[in-house]
Protein backbone atom coordinates (compact mmCIF):
# COMPACT_ATOMS: atom_id res chain seq x y z
CA UNK A 1 0.00 0.00 0.00
CA UNK A 2 2.80 2.37 0.91
CA UNK A 3 4.56 1.64 -2.38
CA UNK A 4 1.45 2.73 -4.28
CA UNK A 5 1.33 5.80 -2.11
CA UNK A 6 4.95 6.66 -2.86
CA UNK A 7 4.31 6.37 -6.58
CA UNK A 8 1.20 8.52 -6.20
CA UNK A 9 3.25 11.18 -4.43
CA UNK A 10 5.86 11.09 -7.20
CA UNK A 11 3.11 11.49 -9.80
CA UNK A 12 1.59 14.40 -7.89
CA UNK A 13 4.98 16.12 -7.65
CA UNK A 14 5.65 15.59 -11.36
CA UNK A 15 2.27 16.99 -12.38
CA UNK A 16 2.83 19.94 -10.05
CA UNK A 17 6.27 20.64 -11.49
CA UNK A 18 5.03 20.51 -15.09
CA UNK A 19 2.08 22.70 -14.16
CA UNK A 20 4.36 25.31 -12.60
CA UNK A 21 6.71 25.27 -15.61
CA UNK A 22 3.72 25.80 -17.87
CA UNK A 23 2.44 28.66 -15.71
CA UNK A 24 5.91 30.22 -15.68
CA UNK A 25 6.12 30.02 -19.49
CA UNK A 26 2.69 31.63 -19.88
CA UNK A 27 3.79 34.28 -17.40
CA UNK A 28 6.98 34.89 -19.41
CA UNK A 29 5.08 35.23 -22.70
CA UNK A 30 2.58 37.58 -21.05
CA UNK A 31 5.42 39.70 -19.66
CA UNK A 32 6.95 40.01 -23.12
CA UNK A 33 3.56 40.80 -24.69
CA UNK A 34 2.76 43.59 -22.23
CA UNK A 35 6.26 45.05 -21.98
CA UNK A 36 5.53 47.83 -24.48
CA UNK A 37 4.38 50.16 -21.73
CA UNK A 38 7.58 49.69 -19.72
CA UNK A 39 9.44 51.36 -22.60
CA UNK A 40 6.76 53.93 -23.45
CA UNK A 41 6.56 54.97 -19.80
CA UNK A 42 10.23 54.51 -19.20
CA UNK A 43 10.27 56.17 -15.78
CA UNK A 44 8.59 53.05 -14.39
CA UNK A 45 11.58 51.00 -15.56
CA UNK A 46 14.05 53.62 -14.33
CA UNK A 47 12.57 53.41 -10.84
CA UNK A 48 13.08 49.65 -10.88
CA UNK A 49 16.57 50.02 -12.36
CA UNK A 50 17.38 52.08 -9.30
CA UNK A 51 16.16 49.51 -6.81
CA UNK A 52 17.60 46.47 -8.59
CA UNK A 53 20.72 47.83 -10.31
CA UNK A 54 21.97 50.84 -8.37
CA UNK A 55 21.22 49.33 -4.97
CA UNK A 56 23.19 46.18 -5.93
CA UNK A 57 26.25 48.20 -6.94
CA UNK A 58 28.01 48.15 -3.58
CA UNK A 59 27.70 44.40 -2.94
CA UNK A 60 28.79 43.66 -6.53
CA UNK A 61 31.83 45.94 -6.41
CA UNK A 62 33.01 44.79 -2.98
CA UNK A 63 32.46 41.11 -3.83
CA UNK A 64 34.23 41.53 -7.20
CA UNK A 65 37.23 43.19 -5.57
CA UNK A 66 37.64 40.43 -3.01
CA UNK A 67 37.07 37.58 -5.47
CA UNK A 68 39.73 39.11 -7.73
CA UNK A 69 42.14 39.50 -4.84
CA UNK A 70 41.66 35.89 -3.72
CA UNK A 71 42.17 34.72 -7.31
CA UNK A 72 45.40 36.73 -7.43
CA UNK A 73 46.69 35.16 -4.22
CA UNK A 74 45.70 31.58 -5.00
CA UNK A 75 46.70 31.80 -8.64
CA UNK A 76 50.11 33.08 -7.69
CA UNK A 77 50.65 30.23 -5.20
CA UNK A 78 49.88 27.63 -7.88
CA UNK A 79 51.63 29.30 -10.83
CA UNK A 80 54.77 29.89 -8.77
CA UNK A 81 55.42 26.14 -8.70
CA UNK A 82 55.74 26.08 -12.47
CA UNK A 83 57.70 29.30 -12.67
CA UNK A 84 54.98 30.97 -14.71
CA UNK A 85 53.87 33.79 -12.42
CA UNK A 86 53.60 36.02 -15.46
CA UNK A 87 50.48 34.08 -16.53
CA UNK A 88 48.69 35.35 -13.42
CA UNK A 89 46.90 38.08 -15.38
CA UNK A 90 45.62 35.54 -17.91
CA UNK A 91 44.33 33.26 -15.18
CA UNK A 92 42.57 36.01 -13.24
CA UNK A 93 41.04 37.64 -16.31
CA UNK A 94 39.87 34.45 -18.01
CA UNK A 95 38.30 32.95 -14.90
CA UNK A 96 36.54 36.23 -14.12
CA UNK A 97 35.32 37.09 -17.60
CA UNK A 98 34.22 33.59 -18.54
CA UNK A 99 32.84 32.17 -15.31
CA UNK A 100 33.06 34.00 -12.02
CA UNK A 101 31.88 37.38 -13.27
CA UNK A 102 28.56 36.23 -14.73
CA UNK A 103 27.92 33.46 -12.19
CA UNK A 104 28.82 35.15 -8.91
CA UNK A 105 27.22 38.43 -9.98
CA UNK A 106 24.04 36.52 -10.86
CA UNK A 107 24.07 34.65 -7.52
CA UNK A 108 24.48 37.93 -5.64
CA UNK A 109 21.81 39.54 -7.81
CA UNK A 110 19.40 36.69 -7.07
CA UNK A 111 19.84 37.02 -3.34
CA UNK A 112 20.02 40.81 -3.24
CA UNK A 113 17.47 41.93 -5.84
CA UNK A 114 15.54 38.76 -6.70
CA UNK A 115 14.44 38.08 -3.12
CA UNK A 116 13.37 41.71 -2.71
CA UNK A 117 11.31 41.53 -5.91
CA UNK A 118 9.53 38.35 -4.77
CA UNK A 119 8.81 39.74 -1.30
CA UNK A 120 7.50 43.03 -2.74
CA UNK A 121 5.18 41.42 -5.27
CA UNK A 122 4.09 38.73 -2.84
CA UNK A 123 3.18 41.39 -0.30
CA UNK A 124 1.36 43.40 -2.97
CA UNK A 125 -0.69 40.30 -3.65
CA UNK A 126 -1.26 39.61 0.07
CA UNK A 127 -2.49 43.17 0.64
CA UNK A 128 -4.70 42.85 -2.46
CA UNK A 129 -3.04 45.70 -4.33
CA UNK A 130 -2.86 43.52 -7.44
CA UNK A 131 -6.58 42.73 -7.29
CA UNK A 132 -7.25 46.44 -6.80
CA UNK A 133 -5.31 47.19 -9.97
CA UNK A 134 -7.32 44.63 -11.90
CA UNK A 135 -10.50 46.27 -10.57
CA UNK A 136 -9.30 49.60 -11.99
CA UNK A 137 -8.65 47.90 -15.35
CA UNK A 138 -4.91 48.33 -14.95
CA UNK A 139 -3.05 45.29 -16.18
CA UNK A 140 -0.75 44.29 -13.27
CA UNK A 141 1.62 42.49 -15.65
CA UNK A 142 2.15 45.65 -17.70
CA UNK A 143 2.26 47.96 -14.69
CA UNK A 144 4.25 45.92 -12.12
CA UNK A 145 5.88 42.89 -13.70
CA UNK A 146 7.22 44.10 -17.06
CA UNK A 147 9.19 47.14 -15.74
CA UNK A 148 10.84 44.96 -13.10
CA UNK A 149 11.62 42.29 -15.68
CA UNK A 150 13.35 44.70 -18.04
CA UNK A 151 15.18 46.42 -15.20
CA UNK A 152 16.59 43.05 -14.16
CA UNK A 153 17.51 42.05 -17.71
CA UNK A 154 19.24 45.40 -18.34
CA UNK A 155 21.13 45.58 -15.05
CA UNK A 156 22.43 42.00 -14.92
CA UNK A 157 25.02 42.26 -17.78
CA UNK A 158 26.13 45.67 -16.53
CA UNK A 159 26.63 44.32 -13.01
CA UNK A 160 28.53 41.29 -14.31
CA UNK A 161 30.82 43.51 -16.41
CA UNK A 162 31.47 45.71 -13.36
CA UNK A 163 32.17 42.61 -11.27
CA UNK A 164 34.73 41.33 -13.80
CA UNK A 165 36.40 44.71 -14.24
CA UNK A 166 36.70 45.31 -10.50
CA UNK A 167 37.88 41.70 -10.05
CA UNK A 168 40.68 42.15 -12.59
CA UNK A 169 41.66 45.29 -10.71
CA UNK A 170 41.67 43.30 -7.45
CA UNK A 171 43.90 40.66 -9.03
CA UNK A 172 46.19 43.46 -10.22
CA UNK A 173 46.32 44.94 -6.71
CA UNK A 174 47.38 41.67 -5.10
CA UNK A 175 49.49 40.28 -7.96
CA UNK A 176 51.36 43.34 -9.14
CA UNK A 177 51.21 45.89 -6.33
CA UNK A 178 51.54 43.57 -3.34
CA UNK A 179 53.38 40.44 -4.54
CA UNK A 180 55.34 42.12 -7.31
CA UNK A 181 54.55 40.18 -10.49
CA UNK A 182 55.89 42.07 -13.50
CA UNK A 183 53.26 44.60 -14.55
CA UNK A 184 54.05 44.45 -18.27
CA UNK A 185 53.69 40.68 -18.55
CA UNK A 186 50.59 40.74 -16.34
CA UNK A 187 48.69 42.93 -18.81
CA UNK A 188 50.28 41.80 -22.09
CA UNK A 189 49.76 38.08 -21.47
CA UNK A 190 46.21 38.86 -20.40
CA UNK A 191 45.55 40.78 -23.61
CA UNK A 192 47.10 38.02 -25.70
CA UNK A 193 44.88 35.35 -24.16
CA UNK A 194 41.52 37.06 -23.71
CA UNK A 195 39.56 37.30 -26.94
CA UNK A 196 36.88 39.96 -27.25
CA UNK A 197 34.29 37.84 -29.02
CA UNK A 198 35.03 34.40 -27.61
CA UNK A 199 35.54 35.39 -24.00
CA UNK A 200 34.11 38.82 -23.22
CA UNK A 201 31.01 38.74 -25.43
CA UNK A 202 30.24 35.16 -24.39
CA UNK A 203 30.48 36.27 -20.76
CA UNK A 204 28.06 39.11 -21.45
CA UNK A 205 25.71 36.69 -23.21
CA UNK A 206 25.85 34.39 -20.20
CA UNK A 207 24.95 37.18 -17.79
CA UNK A 208 22.13 38.27 -20.11
CA UNK A 209 20.65 34.75 -19.96
CA UNK A 210 21.10 34.67 -16.18
CA UNK A 211 19.39 38.06 -15.95
CA UNK A 212 16.32 36.75 -17.79
CA UNK A 213 16.16 33.55 -15.73
CA UNK A 214 16.73 35.10 -12.30
CA UNK A 215 14.29 37.96 -12.83
CA UNK A 216 11.66 35.65 -14.27
CA UNK A 217 11.93 33.23 -11.34
CA UNK A 218 11.77 36.06 -8.81
CA UNK A 219 8.74 37.69 -10.45
CA UNK A 220 6.90 34.41 -10.98
CA UNK A 221 7.44 33.24 -7.41
CA UNK A 222 6.16 36.58 -6.13
CA UNK A 223 3.14 36.58 -8.43
CA UNK A 224 2.36 32.96 -7.62
CA UNK A 225 2.89 33.23 -3.83
CA UNK A 226 0.03 32.30 -1.52
CA UNK A 227 -1.27 35.61 -0.15
CA UNK A 228 -0.22 34.94 3.44
CA UNK A 229 2.82 35.90 5.51
CA UNK A 230 4.00 32.30 5.41
CA UNK A 231 3.42 32.06 1.68
CA UNK A 232 5.48 35.18 0.95
CA UNK A 233 8.38 34.01 3.07
CA UNK A 234 8.31 30.58 1.41
CA UNK A 235 8.23 32.17 -2.03
CA UNK A 236 11.22 34.36 -1.17
CA UNK A 237 13.22 31.33 -0.04
CA UNK A 238 12.22 29.43 -3.18
CA UNK A 239 13.36 32.35 -5.34
CA UNK A 240 16.88 32.27 -3.93
CA UNK A 241 17.17 28.47 -3.99
CA UNK A 242 15.64 27.94 -7.44
CA UNK A 243 17.50 30.77 -9.14
CA UNK A 244 20.85 29.77 -7.60
CA UNK A 245 20.41 26.21 -8.84
CA UNK A 246 19.19 27.44 -12.23
CA UNK A 247 22.23 29.73 -12.57
CA UNK A 248 24.73 26.97 -11.78
CA UNK A 249 23.07 24.39 -14.03
CA UNK A 250 22.59 26.82 -16.91
CA UNK A 251 26.19 27.90 -16.53
CA UNK A 252 27.32 24.35 -17.17
CA UNK A 253 25.13 24.08 -20.26
CA UNK A 254 26.24 27.47 -21.62
CA UNK A 255 29.91 26.74 -20.95
CA UNK A 256 29.61 23.38 -22.71
CA UNK A 257 28.12 25.12 -25.76
CA UNK A 258 30.38 28.18 -25.82
CA UNK A 259 33.83 26.93 -24.86
CA UNK A 260 33.81 23.33 -26.01
CA UNK A 261 36.05 23.92 -29.00
CA UNK A 262 38.81 25.63 -27.05
Amino acid sequence: MSAVNTIRIIGHRAINAVWRIGMASRFFVNTLLYSGSSFRRFHLTIKELFSTGVMSLIIIIVAGLFVGMVLGLQGYETLKRYGSESALGTMVALSLVRELGPVVAALLFASRAGSAMTAEIGLMKATEQISAMEMMAVNPIARIIAPRFWAGVISMPLLAALFSAVGVFGGYLVGVVQIGVDEGSFWSQMQAAVDFRDDILNGVLKSFVFGIVVTLIALFEGFDAPPTAEGVSGATTRTVVTSSLAILMLDFVLTAIMFRGN
Binding site: F50, V54, V97, L159, A192
Partner: protein, 154 residues
Amino acid sequence: MERTTLDLWVGIFVVAGVAALVMLAMKVGNLGTYNVSDAYQVQAYFTNIGGLKPKASIKSAGVVVGRVTGISLDTERYEAKVEMSLDRRYQFPKDTFANILTSGLLGEQYIGLMPGGDSEMIKNGGVIKKTQSAVVLEDLIGKFIYNKADEPAQ
Protein backbone atom coordinates in the same frame (compact mmCIF):
# COMPACT_ATOMS: atom_id res chain seq x y z
CA MET B 1 12.98 59.87 -4.05
CA GLU B 2 13.05 62.86 -6.41
CA ARG B 3 12.72 61.90 -10.05
CA THR B 4 15.86 63.76 -11.16
CA THR B 5 18.08 62.14 -8.52
CA LEU B 6 16.67 58.78 -9.53
CA ASP B 7 17.59 59.48 -13.16
CA LEU B 8 21.04 60.62 -12.10
CA TRP B 9 21.77 57.46 -10.13
CA VAL B 10 20.50 55.16 -12.87
CA GLY B 11 22.59 57.16 -15.35
CA ILE B 12 25.69 56.70 -13.19
CA PHE B 13 24.96 52.97 -12.95
CA VAL B 14 24.55 52.52 -16.71
CA VAL B 15 27.63 54.62 -17.52
CA ALA B 16 29.71 52.67 -14.97
CA GLY B 17 28.52 49.35 -16.42
CA VAL B 18 29.28 50.36 -20.00
CA ALA B 19 32.64 51.80 -18.94
CA ALA B 20 33.49 48.48 -17.28
CA LEU B 21 32.61 46.67 -20.49
CA VAL B 22 34.76 49.01 -22.59
CA MET B 23 37.61 48.64 -20.12
CA LEU B 24 37.30 44.86 -20.33
CA ALA B 25 37.35 45.00 -24.12
CA MET B 26 40.29 47.39 -24.40
CA LYS B 27 42.52 46.66 -21.43
CA VAL B 28 41.76 42.99 -20.70
CA GLY B 29 40.78 41.74 -24.16
CA ASN B 30 42.58 42.01 -27.45
CA LEU B 31 40.30 44.52 -29.11
CA GLY B 32 42.65 47.42 -28.45
CA THR B 33 45.82 45.65 -29.48
CA TYR B 34 45.09 44.15 -32.86
CA ASN B 35 42.59 44.78 -35.59
CA VAL B 36 42.10 42.33 -38.44
CA SER B 37 39.76 44.52 -40.44
CA ASP B 38 42.36 45.36 -43.09
CA ALA B 39 44.18 42.12 -43.75
CA TYR B 40 45.43 39.86 -46.53
CA GLN B 41 45.55 36.06 -46.58
CA VAL B 42 48.69 33.97 -46.93
CA GLN B 43 49.24 30.22 -46.77
CA ALA B 44 52.19 28.09 -45.74
CA TYR B 45 52.84 24.34 -45.61
CA PHE B 46 54.65 22.75 -42.68
CA THR B 47 55.70 19.13 -42.23
CA ASN B 48 54.85 19.38 -38.53
CA ILE B 49 53.08 22.20 -36.75
CA GLY B 50 53.60 20.85 -33.22
CA GLY B 51 51.16 22.58 -30.89
CA LEU B 52 50.22 25.52 -33.11
CA LYS B 53 46.58 26.52 -32.73
CA PRO B 54 44.19 28.75 -34.66
CA LYS B 55 44.41 32.40 -33.50
CA ALA B 56 48.08 31.98 -32.62
CA SER B 57 49.97 35.17 -33.29
CA ILE B 58 52.31 35.77 -36.22
CA LYS B 59 55.31 37.86 -35.35
CA SER B 60 58.09 39.46 -37.28
CA ALA B 61 61.00 40.85 -35.29
CA GLY B 62 58.80 40.35 -32.23
CA VAL B 63 55.98 42.56 -33.53
CA VAL B 64 52.54 40.96 -33.92
CA VAL B 65 51.66 41.28 -37.62
CA GLY B 66 48.79 38.81 -37.92
CA ARG B 67 46.92 35.75 -36.71
CA VAL B 68 46.61 32.12 -37.76
CA THR B 69 43.08 31.75 -39.16
CA GLY B 70 42.95 28.07 -40.03
CA ILE B 71 44.88 24.82 -39.85
CA SER B 72 44.12 21.75 -41.94
CA LEU B 73 45.86 18.70 -43.38
CA ASP B 74 46.48 18.84 -47.12
CA THR B 75 45.91 15.22 -48.22
CA GLU B 76 47.77 15.67 -51.52
CA ARG B 77 51.08 16.49 -49.91
CA TYR B 78 50.31 15.17 -46.39
CA GLU B 79 51.51 18.39 -44.89
CA ALA B 80 49.82 20.83 -42.55
CA LYS B 81 48.32 23.80 -44.37
CA VAL B 82 48.30 26.91 -42.21
CA GLU B 83 46.24 29.88 -43.29
CA MET B 84 47.33 33.24 -41.98
CA SER B 85 45.80 36.67 -42.02
CA LEU B 86 48.38 39.45 -42.05
CA ASP B 87 47.97 43.16 -41.48
CA ARG B 88 47.96 45.04 -44.79
CA ARG B 89 50.39 47.61 -43.40
CA TYR B 90 53.12 44.96 -43.34
CA GLN B 91 54.25 43.54 -46.69
CA PHE B 92 56.75 40.69 -46.88
CA PRO B 93 59.14 39.65 -49.69
CA LYS B 94 58.41 36.44 -51.63
CA ASP B 95 61.30 34.52 -50.08
CA THR B 96 60.19 35.17 -46.52
CA PHE B 97 61.01 32.35 -44.11
CA ALA B 98 58.23 31.09 -41.78
CA ASN B 99 59.26 29.35 -38.55
CA ILE B 100 57.13 27.84 -35.83
CA LEU B 101 58.60 29.11 -32.59
CA THR B 102 57.75 28.81 -28.91
CA SER B 103 57.59 31.73 -26.52
CA GLY B 104 59.46 30.52 -23.46
CA LEU B 105 60.04 26.89 -22.58
CA LEU B 106 56.39 26.00 -21.96
CA GLY B 107 54.75 28.97 -23.65
CA GLU B 108 52.37 28.97 -26.57
CA GLN B 109 53.60 28.51 -30.14
CA TYR B 110 53.58 31.23 -32.76
CA ILE B 111 54.83 31.76 -36.29
CA GLY B 112 57.89 33.91 -36.78
CA LEU B 113 58.41 35.55 -40.19
CA MET B 114 61.97 36.30 -41.31
CA PRO B 115 61.90 38.55 -44.39
CA GLY B 116 64.16 37.58 -47.29
CA GLY B 117 65.71 39.84 -49.90
CA ASP B 118 63.34 39.43 -52.86
CA SER B 119 62.07 42.64 -54.40
CA GLU B 120 58.63 41.13 -55.11
CA MET B 121 56.13 41.05 -52.27
CA ILE B 122 53.71 38.23 -51.32
CA LYS B 123 50.23 39.00 -52.65
CA ASN B 124 46.84 38.23 -51.17
CA GLY B 125 46.35 34.43 -51.37
CA GLY B 126 50.06 33.80 -51.87
CA VAL B 127 52.09 30.96 -50.42
CA ILE B 128 55.16 31.16 -48.24
CA LYS B 129 57.49 28.50 -49.67
CA LYS B 130 60.27 28.41 -47.13
CA THR B 131 59.09 27.00 -43.85
CA GLN B 132 60.58 25.32 -40.85
CA SER B 133 58.50 23.00 -38.69
CA ALA B 134 58.00 23.12 -34.98
CA VAL B 135 60.65 21.57 -32.79
CA VAL B 136 59.15 18.42 -31.29
CA LEU B 137 60.81 17.50 -28.03
CA GLU B 138 60.52 13.73 -28.58
CA ASP B 139 62.37 13.98 -31.90
CA LEU B 140 65.16 15.94 -30.27
CA ILE B 141 65.52 13.41 -27.48
CA GLY B 142 65.42 10.56 -30.01
CA LYS B 143 68.18 12.13 -32.11
CA PHE B 144 70.26 12.72 -29.00
CA ILE B 145 69.94 9.09 -27.91
CA TYR B 146 70.89 7.77 -31.40
CA ASN B 147 73.88 10.09 -31.54
CA LYS B 148 75.03 8.82 -28.18
CA ALA B 149 74.60 5.22 -29.32
CA ASP B 150 76.67 5.89 -32.47
CA GLU B 151 79.59 7.24 -30.46
CA PRO B 152 82.39 4.69 -29.98
CA ALA B 153 82.62 3.32 -26.46
CA GLN B 154 85.51 4.67 -24.53
